[in-house]
């Protein structure tokens, strides 16, 4: 299994959403809306990271294969 192609995206996304959800909330200036903004940042980070994670985990070990029909799509893939 090509591990590198999994580790790099994993690291990048985890770090990115980690910054959005974990670091940015501390940088929000104090004001009446601080609570709302912090909640929004954390929830956005959690939801988006989770969604991406589910997408990548489900494709990690494909159990079956893409069935192509022999029209120009497959030919195009072959040539590239």
């Amino acid at each position: 299994m090509a591990n590198l192609s999994f580790v790099i995206p994993m690291a990048v996304m985890t770090v990115f959403w980690g910054i959005v959800g974990g670091v940015l909330p501390w940088l929000v200036p104090k004001g009446p809306n601080r609570g709302v903004i912090v909640t929004m940042l954390v929830l956005t980070a959690v939801c988006c990271y989770l969604f991406w994670l589910i997408a990548i985990l489900s494709q990690l070990n494909p159990l079956f294969c893409a069935l192509g029909s022999s029209h120009c799509g497959t030919r195009h893939l072959v040539d590239h």
């Binding site: 192609s5 709302v36 988006c48 969604f51 997408a55 159990l63 294969c65 192509g68 029909s69």
Partner: protein
């Protein structure tokens, strides 16, 4: 502030207003909009209240103002915009305004009456003139044809006093003439009636007027016909007269000779000119008066409205024994108490009172209303939460979490990059032009709905862009940003495919077992190869269903965890152990474990053992039945773990069912011999949630010992039966709900599938036709197809699917998420504020544009 997570703390206060300055104090409170007044005279009808005469006066003023506005509107005079909202006038100024208004009304009605009379006169004169002109034509004709030179034979002419028509003597018979105008619509009937009644003894000549004359009675423009009836005999004359009256003809005296006719025409001309000048002058004067009035009419409208509101509030207050002071009971947010005091001081100062009005906080035993302060961004989300039910006093508010989870769930069901971009751009446009008055004042209800939700739509669009990128769908086409992880070339090199293979086999399988075919997972989203695969749906369905379950279980667990904050706030620690823990265990042991199994299967099973890959669903069902059914275990020790989980879940049901009632029963009956302090605490905790809410509120207020005795007497009967029933219903609802709600989240899969399929159909059947034609006409066809494509995309995919996904995401929030922790049985706090008043005159459309400042 942090008040967005929980509603604000409220207190009941008594306002003691000095009679002289009560009006000004309430006016000040109305400007600042701090408090909600309670009705202290609920048994008194509205006609018996104290300030009824003042309200009647206000309504009279409103009536006159409405009349003024209608007249101003009719004249077409523009109304100036009110920049700064005027304050309510003091009572002395009110009489001035009333007097001015009455004077204006009198003047206007008089002028209007005169104008009407003049116009009627003018109409008569014009008609007479036209009629004379046209009948000259008749007479000339008849001269030539019938009467001929014998016209001069009739020397004397008598004016018949009875019929008022001129008659000529001819051979002993009187020849009479009646001339006038009749409406075009009635002419045929008139003619027929004349013929039948007079049996041919009349000659009826008519000709149509080219000019349209305005009827002053109805204001309509009707076509009229000039007629001339000549008849023989007196009796006929009377009959004709009666018939003319019947048909509402305008009769005018017919001149005897040509000279007389010319004379009359001349005089008519001068008279008409005079009348027109007078009318013109009257119009100018009317316009002047209305111009002057229009300057202050808008201000007056607002002032009268505010005054009426103040008197309504004054009616809610009660007088104290000395009759010098008004007492009002209000709900006030605790944070605003200082502002309230300041407002009262300001009001007293304006009213010139010797003794200032003051505020006194009192303990209350009713449930306070719920106040949640929102800004223009959060108000949309708060509205959709409140639409389900306004939160109970001081319970956790789901709105700040809804700001993200609602657009996210919407986007999961809507996920398409192209559609998301269009939606986000539309919302961005609405947000950028939100200051434009033309946009804010539009009366179109559907546009107002979209505009009120502009921030929500913007969030929905942005999240849809993200999920569209992950689903890899842009108008149903996939983007190949990073190179696809699947390679067909490898099949050629490893399995020795040839072009022959491609030609002869309609369907080919890429075998991931062959090295080089699957080169690694696509780093962001769904691999674009699936867009070309014919078993695309098989893969996507499995992926989306599992995703829905995982998202659903996490969303519901989040809801249960939010309930912890409620338990902690209302000092019901026992709820933590007896309600929260069993609920969480039940959900996570069963459906959380399902999620774990899903993830485990993704990680542990690859294509090498795909033939033995277990079905998660089968394992899940077997878990309940506690048998293996010959399936290979997912992991060693699976049976033990699953039995443990099922037993834990099953055990948490009786704990949930009986734990709380038994504990409350023990508290109420078993702890009676404790110390008095414990007793106070016990009473506070042993009662049902309502009372504990108010008592905990009292504890927060710091009203301590004086209430000690009150709370002792005030604790309700502890009814084991009702608590048990309540808890049983809650348990059954929760446990069955866990299963049904988890399945309910599968709508995330269903709607995203529907959206993807619709999108694909639209592409394949519409645009692809345009892109595939190779001839010159293809460009025209492509343009047409694009128009059709865009119209269908906006109407079906954006509007219809968008509305559908919106509703389903809303249902998921209202039912599946909120019934884990939300009560929603509160009352909204509606402060007395002038800015919230509905404007009655606006509803008639008389004001034209509503003032933006109130």
């Amino acid at each position: 502030m942090g008040s967005v997570f929980r509603s604000e703390e409220m207190c009941m206060a008594q306002l003691f207003l000095q009679s002289g300055s009560a009006y000004d104090c309430i006016s000040e409170l109305g400007e600042t909009g701090l408090v909600e007044f309670r009705d202290l005279n609920p048994s008194v009808s509205s006609f018996q209240r104290k300030f009824v005469s003042e309200i009647k006066r206000c309504e009279e003023m409103e009536r006159i103002l409405g009349y003024l506005l209608r007249e101003i509107r009719k004249m077409g005079i523009p109304l100036p915009d009110v920049e700064v909202s005027p304050v309510a006038p003091p009572p002395k100024q009110v009489l001035e305004i009333m007097e001015q208004l009455q004077r204006l009304e009198l003047e206007l009605s008089e002028v209007a009456r005169n104008k009407e009379k003049l116009q009627r006169n003018l109409l008569e004169l014009t008609e007479y003139g036209l009629m004379l002109r046209l009948t000259r034509g008749f007479m000339c004709r008849s001269e030539r044809d019938q009467l001929g030179p014998q016209y001069e034979e009739f020397p004397f002419l008598e004016k018949d006093n009875v019929t008022g028509c001129t008659s000529m003597q001819r051979l002993g018979a009187k020849l009479g003439f009646i001339s006038g105008l009749i409406q075009r619509a009635k002419m045929e009937a008139f003619e027929r009636m004349l013929w039948r009644a007079c049996k041919g003894y009349t000659i009826f000549s008519h000709s149509e007027l080219d000019e349209c004359v305005q009827d002053p009675d109805t204001g309509e423009v009707t076509k009229s016909v000039v007629f001339l009836i000549s008849f023989w005999g007196d009796q006929i004359g009377q009959k004709v007269q009666k018939i003319c009256d019947c048909y509402h003809c305008h009769l005018y005296p017919h001149p005897d000779s040509a000279e007389e006719r010319d004379e009359v025409l001349e005089s008519l001309k001068t008279r008409t000119q005079d009348l027109q000048t007078v009318l013109h002058r009257t119009d100018e004067y009317l316009r002047q008066v209305l111009d002057r009035a229009s300057e202050s009419v808008c201000t007056w409208v607002i002032q009268v409205k505010k005054m009426k509101a103040i008197y309504h509030i004054l009616n809610l207050c009660s007088f104290d024994v000395t009759n010098k002071c008004l007492i009002a009971e209000v709900w006030c947010p605790v944070n605003d108490l200082t502002a309230l005091r300041r407002a009262l001081e300001e009001g007293s100062r304006k009213g010139g009172a010797t003794i200032p009005s003051f505020v006194n906080r009192i303990p209350s035993n009713g449930t306070p209303p719920t106040l949640l302060r929102t800004n223009k961004f959060t108000s949309g989300f708060q509205n959709i939460v409140d639409a389900y039910g306004v939160g109970s006093y001081r319970e956790v508010n789901p709105a700040p979490y809804t700001i993200v989870t609602f657009p996210f769930l919407f986007a999961v069901m809507f996920g398409d990059l192209g559609h998301g971009v269009v939606m986000a751009l539309f919302a961005l446009w609405m947000v950028l032009c939100e200051k434009d008055p033309k946009v804010t004042r539009s009366k179109n209800e559907i546009w107002q709905m979209f505009f009120a939700g502009r921030y929500m739509i913007l969030m929905m669009g942005l999240f849809s862009i993200y999920t569209g990128l992950i689903y890899n769908e842009c108008f149903s086409k996939s983007l190949n940003v990073f190179s696809s992880g699947w390679s067909v070339r490898a099949m050629f090199t490893e399995l020795h495919w040839t072009n022959e293979t491609l030609r002869t086999n309609p369907l080919l399988t890429l075998d991931p077992n062959v090295t080089g075919v699957f080169n690694g997972v696509y780093p962001f989203g769904i691999d674009p190869i699936w867009n070309m695969a014919s078993n695309r749906l098989t893969f996507l369905n499995s992926y989306k269903m599992k995703m829905s379950i995982i998202v659903g279980v996490l969303h519901m667990s989040f809801g249960i965890v939010l309930g912890v904050f409620n338990h902690l706030h209302f000092r019901q620690k026992f709820n933590l152990y007896l309600v929260f823990v069993p609920e969480l265990l039940f959900l996570l042991c069963l459906f959380g474990y399902l999620g774990v199994m899903i993830v485990y299967k993704w990680l542990a099973f690859s294509v090498r053992d795909s033939s033995m890959a277990p079905s998660v669903l089968v394992h899940f069902i077997n878990m309940f039945l506690m048998k293996t059914d010959g399936e290979t275990p997912l992991y060693p020790g699976q049976m033990v773990v699953q039995v443990l989980l099922v037993v834990t879940a099953l055990l948490s049901v009786p704990v949930l069912l009986l734990g709380k009632p038994v504990y409350l029963y023990w508290l109420h009956h078993g702890g009676r011999s404790q110390s008095s302090y414990r007793g106070y605490e016990r009473v506070q905790r042993g009662s049902v949630e309502d009372l504990s809410v108010t008592l905990s509120q009292d504890m927060e207020e710091g009203v301590s010992h004086s209430d000690h005795s009150i709370s002792r007497e005030a604790h309700p009967e502890f009814d084991l039966g009702s608590v048990l029933l309540h808890q049983a219903i809650h348990t059954i609802e929760y446990c069955l709900g866990c299963i049904s709600n988890s399945a309910s989240y599968l709508r995330l899969w269903a709607l995203s599938l529907a959206h993807a399929q619709l999108s694909e159909v639209l592409w394949n059947m519409v645009i692809r036709l345009g892109l595939r034609t190779d001839s010159r006409a293809g460009s025209v066809l492509l343009a047409l197809m694009f128009i059709l494509f865009s119209v269908l995309t906006v109407s079906i995919l954006l509007l219809m699917e968008g509305l559908s996904a919106f509703l389903h995401a809303l249902r998921l929030h209202w039912v599946e998420f909120q019934n884990k922790f939300y009560g929603g049985t509160g009352v909204k706090f509606i402060p007395f504020a002038f800015s919230l008043l509905p404007s009655g005159l606006d509803q008639d459309g008389l004001m034209g544009e509503a003032p933006s400042v109130l």
